[in-house]
Every structure is written in C-alpha cells, then in structure tokens.
C-alpha cells in the first residue's frame, strides 16, 4: 500500500527542506521525499493532490500533556486525549505521571501504553515520576520505567521539592540518558496563590504566585544541571526572569532546555478582569503572567531561547471549574488550540517562520525526548502534520475531541489550522473545513 502526497509545501528544518515536494509513503514509512515523484504503476499507489496551499511538516509532538488515566477518567482518558491530539495536529504526546496511581512504576507505564495501543491514534510516550508517589522523598524506579517505555521523568504538578532530590534525580536520569522535567515553583513563596502576583491580582483580591517562585527554582535547577552535567528541562516556563536564566545558562553550555505553553504567549493576567471577571478557565499554574512576561516569552520563541511549544493540556470536568476562583482546579486543555494559536499569534504575526514553528513543535521535542520523528527521513515512520496556514478557524469547545472543555479560547477567530494528521502512514484526522485535504478521505 503506497500513498503519494503531491504538490504541498514541505517544511523539514532538520534536512533544510522548505519548498514544493512530494512525499511517498510505503508500508507506513516515508519512502521518498522529492520533487515530482511519479505515481508509478496505476492501482498500487493512491495519489492525493494537496496543492501548494497546504504545508506538510514532520509530525508535531506535544511533550507536556495530562491524559488523566488511570484515576481521573471523567476528565480524560488515554483514548480521548490521543483523539484530541490527532485532531489538534499532534502525532505524539508525552503524558505526565500525576495520575492515580502515579506513574511511578513500570506496571503503570505499561498500562498507559496498553491503553494507547488500543486507542491506536497519536503515539503516547509516558513520562515517569521522579519520586515514588511524586511525594518528593525516594527516587522512583527510573531504569525499570525507562525499559517499560518512559521517555523522561517529572513530578509535574509539583516541583521536585528539595535540591538534594533534584540533584540525585539528575544524576540518576543522566545515567539513563533521559531528561528530568521540572515544574519550577518554590511552594514556600507561592503559598496558597491562585493568580500571578501583581497589580491585577491585587485589584481582584486574589492570592498571588510571585514570579520569584518560578525564578528561584529555575535558577536552582540550572545550578544543579551544571553541577551534574545532566539534562534539565524546564516545564511551562512563564516568566521573563526564568527565561533570562535559561538564556544565560545555555550561553554557558549548561544542558538546560525549556518549553512555553500557548496560553503564556497569548494571554496575560489583565484578562482576569475582563471580559469575564474571575473566569476559572484562566486559572492555571504557572498563572497567566504580566504582559511584559508574555512579551519576553514571545521574544524567547523568536530568538531560540525557547526550545519547545508544549500545551500543558490539563483537562478538568466542568464541576471542577464551575466554582469559586480560589477553589477551581488549575489548568486548561490545549491540544486542539495550540496549532492555530501558534500560527495566528507567532507565524502570521511575523514573530517566527513556519520552519521555526516546526522546530518548536516537532524537531526539538523529538530531540529532547530522544523519540523518533521530528524530521522527514526516508525509512522513518510516516508521522506527518499537514497545516492549512490560512484557514479561518473559529474555536469551538463544544466540538473538542477531548473529554473536557476547559478553554479560555472558545469562540476565538484564528488564522491557520490543521488540515490533516498522519500517524505511521495512517490518515487519522482530516479537517472537513479544508477542501484541499478532501482527497485524504473522511476520518
């Protein structure tokens, strides 16, 4: 079975390709990327003319999602999360271990992978816990989890609480060649905070989470990454100060990388006042920061300091959000809005090129997690994200594939969206609003 995609613009920063190319897929793998590939013998190749308005990229990888299974299946399951992923243009996701039970052992890792295999949608890469129960005391069985399929370690949702544990985790994960991903927050400074500490939280009488609570933890992790020589990855970086620290550390050669979430480069804390005061879909951790932080993150996305766009997809049931602001759960869903937000607010805004966007969403997360993909190499699995960069998109939470609807972007009009998602040569999502993609069939 061969599939030939013709006429689209292909962007693959890893091989320096940006132009009209055809892609031939054979047995789920990329057989050839070249100009004007002939269809060959009629009948054995399905030829799909996509045309120059569409862009084919190596499959996007969201390295920070919460799939909630096991334990919180009313919010999301591996299957619904994987469905949301392909609908959002992601061919793979890495899921955080703060499930119930915590993914702190190979048996939980294997369970998640079994659910992912049954769903057979986006690829799912489990992230194992740093500490048993993510309670910050004893290291979890990292080698066993690595062998079971974990691609990184994190106590996300919580920081790795002590510098000593972070040191040990970096040393031990370094032995395994895997990164430690840290949710950087000094809980003693953050306290019971629910919003960015600043003028707007003061106006609203909301307890503040100061930028410093993130900045000191990022600085700590950089010091420990330098000390151990291991790779620390900063999750959902949100402050100008933390970005400055990462920029400086990279210049010194420290093995540190970082990701930024779409809500942090599109929104800032004045949104808490209007149009809907105390909207719990604007409550996340780290919180929406000051506009100057948002601008700094945009600059970091432009200048290369930021390695990855990751959504921190955090599904919550409506019951967890339709409550008082300080009682509401932290987090928003992100899988089905990230690509449109990145295209609209970064590419069309002239901040970054499409090629840079592909680095942020594909090449870099693949490199950091050391997973396949991130490039269009002949012989590799055919994981492709097809973009319709000029598609007019209106975000509709009601039509999300995710089980949860907790998004602040409902009703937003954005330019650019996903045309189709291909995983292992299988077309798993085709956007019915994109006529040029109709040849890929209906999914």
């Amino acid at each position: 079975m061969r599939l030939l995609l013709k006429g689209a613009r292909v962007i693959d920063p890893a091989s320096g390709v940006d132009g009209a190319r055809d892609i031939l897929i054979e047995d789920g793998r990329i057989a050839l990327v070249d100009r004007d590939i002939p269809a060959g013998e009629a009948g054995d190749t399905r030829v799909v003319e996509l045309g120059p308005a569409l862009v084919i990229c190596p499959g996007f990888i969201d390295m920070h999602v919460h799939l909630r299974e096991p334990g919180y299946e009313h919010k999301e399951t591996v299957a619904t999360g994987a469905a949301a992923a392909v609908a959002g243009g992601f061919t793979a996701v890495a899921c955080m271990p703060n499930t119930n039970p915590v993914n702190d052992s190979a048996s939980v890792t294997r369970f998640i992978l079994k659910q992912a295999a049954e769903a057979s949608l986006a690829r799912v890469y489990p992230i194992g816990a740093v500490s048993k129960g993510s309670d910050g005391r004893e290291l979890a069985e990292m080698a066993d989890m690595r062998d079971a399929g974990c691609v990184a370690f994190s106590d996300d949702g919580r920081p790795v609480a002590t510098a000593l544990l972070m040191r040990r985790a970096l040393e031990y994960a370094g032995m395994l060649g895997l990164p430690v991903i840290d949710h950087c927050e000094d809980k003693t400074l953050a306290g019971e905070g629910v919003a960015h500490e600043g003028f707007h939280a003061s106006q609203l009488g909301l307890r503040g989470i100061p930028s410093a609570s993130e900045d000191v933890m990022v600085e700590r992790d950089i010091v420990l990454a330098a000390m151990t020589g291991s790779h620390a990855h900063i999750a959902h970086l949100s402050t100008a100060g933390a970005l400055r620290s990462v920029r400086g550390a990279k210049a010194r050669g420290v093995r540190v990388t970082c990701e930024v979430a779409p809500h942090h480069f599109t929104l800032s804390d004045e949104r808490l006042l209007a149009p809907l005061a105390y909207d719990t879909n604007l409550k996340m951790n780290p919180p929406l920061r000051h506009a100057a932080d948002r601008d700094a993150l945009v600059e970091g996305l432009r200048d290369g300091t930021v390695d990855v766009i990751a959504t921190d997809h955090a599904p919550h049931h409506a019951d967890d959000k339709k409550v008082e602001f300080d009682r509401a759960s932290f987090g928003i869903v992100g899988l089905e809005t990230a690509v449109s937000l990145s295209l609209d607010r970064l590419v069309h805004a002239g901040i970054i090129t499409l090629a840079r966007m592909v680095e942020l969403l594909s090449a870099n997360p693949a490199r950091i997690l050391r997973v396949p993909g991130g490039r269009l190499r002949e012989g590799d699995a055919a994981d492709l994200t097809v973009l319709a960069p000029d598609l007019r998109v209106t975000v509709s939470a009601a039509s999300f594939r995710s089980k949860s609807r907790n998004t602040p972007y409902d009703g937003w009009a954005l330019r650019g969206g996903v045309a189709a998602t291909v995983v292992g040569g299988r077309v798993l999502f085709v956007n019915p609003d994109v006529p040029q993609a109709a040849g890929l069939g209906r999914v």
């Binding site: 003061s202 009488g205 503040g208 100061p210 019951d319 409550v323 008082e324 602001f325 300080d326």
Partner: protein
C-alpha cells in the same frame, strides 16, 4: 461633564470598581433620605414591600448581617437569613447549586458574604436576582466603602480634595480596596500605610500614595481610617508581634495630633483595642466609629432601594 445618574446600571452591586462617580453620588444622596427614615418614630417605608431579600452568609458576621437585615426591614422587604458554615475540608453543596435552589424561590435580591474573592460575580452570573456583595474574600466590601464615604461626606461636606489615611493590613482587606476605589473616584487623596508585608503588590497603581511612615500618612489628614489587624497575620510571619505593630503603626493620641485639628477617626470594626488603635482614640471626640455603624443602615437601604425598589417607571401613572 457627566450627568447625574438617576439609577444604577446593573442589577447587582459587586464592587465599587464597577461604579461611576455619578452612581456613587446617587447612592450617597439616596442614603441621606434613608437616614431621615431611620430618625423617624416609625422607622419604616413601603419601598420594598412584597420583595424578598435573602442574606446568604458563608462567613460569620454580626455587624454587616444585622445592618443589612435592619435596612431590609425598614424598607418593608421580606427577609430571610441563611448562614452556611464552610471550611475547605467539608465542601458541601456548591455555591452555584445553593444559588439555583434559592433562585427557584424567586428572590429579588441576594446579599452574599463569602470567603472567596469573586464569589459574588459567580452568583450574579448564575442568578436573575440582584446580587449585593457583603464582602467577598480579599476583594471588595462595597457597602462598607459607601458607608465610610457617606460618613466622611457627612462630616466634611465633600470628598474631593480631602486627605484620607488608611492604615493597617491592606493586603487582605476588602474594606481597603472598596475605600480606595471609591475615594479615588470621588477625588480624594488616599494615603495607605502599613508594613510592606501587608501591602498589595502594585498598590500605587491603585491610585494611592503608599508609605510605611504612619506620621507621614496621618500628617494633615482629614480622615484617618484604621483597618483591623488579625492575629493570624502575626502567625503568618507578616509582622513580629502585636506589641511591635502597635508601636510602629498603632493610632495613638500623639499621632492623631499630626492630623488636621478637625480630623475624624474611623474603623470598620471589629476593633482590636491596643493593637491598631488606642482606646483613647477609639473613644475620643474625633471618633466617628459608631456613626459609621448608623450610616451603614442608611447606605444599605439606599443600595437595596436603588436595585430592587421602584422599577415600575414605565408603568407609573
């Protein structure tokens, strides 16, 4: 410039931040008429006859709840009080579910006191009934701000150009926020004073002058407003001891003498004598603390009347 408002724009009073100066003036002017009602031998008018007002209190309150209840009764409303004990451990029914149950009984106004900032916004979005904020978390306590302004205006004849010093725990205080929004909108010069640990971030963006010197704050002030200091704040590490707090920030007769000779001393209550205010000051000739309580009834009558009273302009003959 702006015309005098003759009604409030919304169905709710969630905070002073939402009001225009004209609306504030309307409430204060209406309160003057209401104060006259309270001075009559028969302290009752039929303005809210047949209207139902629910006082829904999630935090213990004696002063504010009683004041609302008196105001409602003097307007002839049917009132009922619901006190719900809550803790973060026992969740119980959600605020929205409680609101929907009350809504089913078709009340006209719900007066809400709640420990969470923004709880009134949630209620107002859920209910057709008008919602009056009787204090939400650390956010606002608009009727307190209004009664404080009413008291100042009553004594000074105006608000514009006055120097008002507010001293105490500004970080956790909804009274502080409502007063700042109101007084700055009405053209007063507000000074805020307290330990830096109890000042909200970005305080000067609220339009106040912030200082840690109580002498500077009080100097030539027309009104000095003390905020309650809670013992938990000491345990939370915001300041070392109540004793030291009084030494540095307490309102003493000596400090009062730095203010204008006719300055008034205010406190929203309940007071901690010897912590934020010396008894000689609280009970002294400049104190208007009990006037504030009396004016609270008038202001709440005005708010309830403007939100739920009349309302039949179109059908009025």
């Amino acid at each position: 410039m702006s015309e005098q408002a003759v009604r409030l724009r919304g169905k709710d009073l969630l905070g002073i931040a939402d009001l225009t100066a004209s609306e504030i003036s309307l409430i204060l002017d209406t309160a003057e008429a209401m104060k006259e009602v309270s001075a009559r031998p028969i302290k009752k008018v039929p303005a809210l006859r047949g209207k139902t007002v629910i006082n829904l209190f999630y935090e213990p309150s004696t002063r504010t709840r009683t004041s609302f209840e008196v105001a409602e009764k003097r307007l002839s409303a049917d009132t009922l009080n619901i006190a719900i004990a809550t803790s973060s451990v026992v969740k119980g029914e959600t605020l929205i579910d409680t609101a929907l149950n009350l809504e089913a009984m078709n009340p006209d106004v719900i007066v809400l006191r709640h420990a969470s900032s923004g709880a009134c916004h949630l209620l107002a979005r859920t209910c057709r009934a008008g919602v009056v904020n009787a204090g939400d978390g650390m956010h606002e306590h608009p009727t307190q701000g209004l009664l404080d302004a009413f008291t100042i205006r009553e004594r000074k004849g105006r608000l514009r150009g006055l120097k008002v010093a507010i001293i105490g725990d500004m970080l956790h205080s909804r009274v502080f926020r409502s007063n700042v929004y109101l007084l700055t909108k009405m053209g007063a010069e507000v000074w805020a004073c307290g330990p830096p640990t109890l000042m909200p971030v970005g305080i000067e963006q609220l339009g106040v002058r912030a200082t840690t010197s109580v002498e500077e704050a009080v100097a030539d002030a027309d009104a000095v407003m003390m905020l309650r200091i809670q013992l938990e704040r000491m345990q939370g590490g915001f300041f070392p001891s109540l004793r030291e707090y009084f030494q540095v920030f307490g309102m003493t007769p000596e400090r009062v003498r730095l203010a204008k000779p006719d300055a008034i001393i205010m406190h929203p209550g309940p007071m901690n004598r010897g912590v934020e205010i010396a008894s000689e000051v609280a009970d002294g000739p400049a104190s208007v603390i009990l006037d504030q309580v009396a004016n609270g009834v008038a202001v709440r009558m005005a708010v309830l009347y403007l939100l739920a009273g009349g309302g039949d302009d179109e059908t009025a003959a």
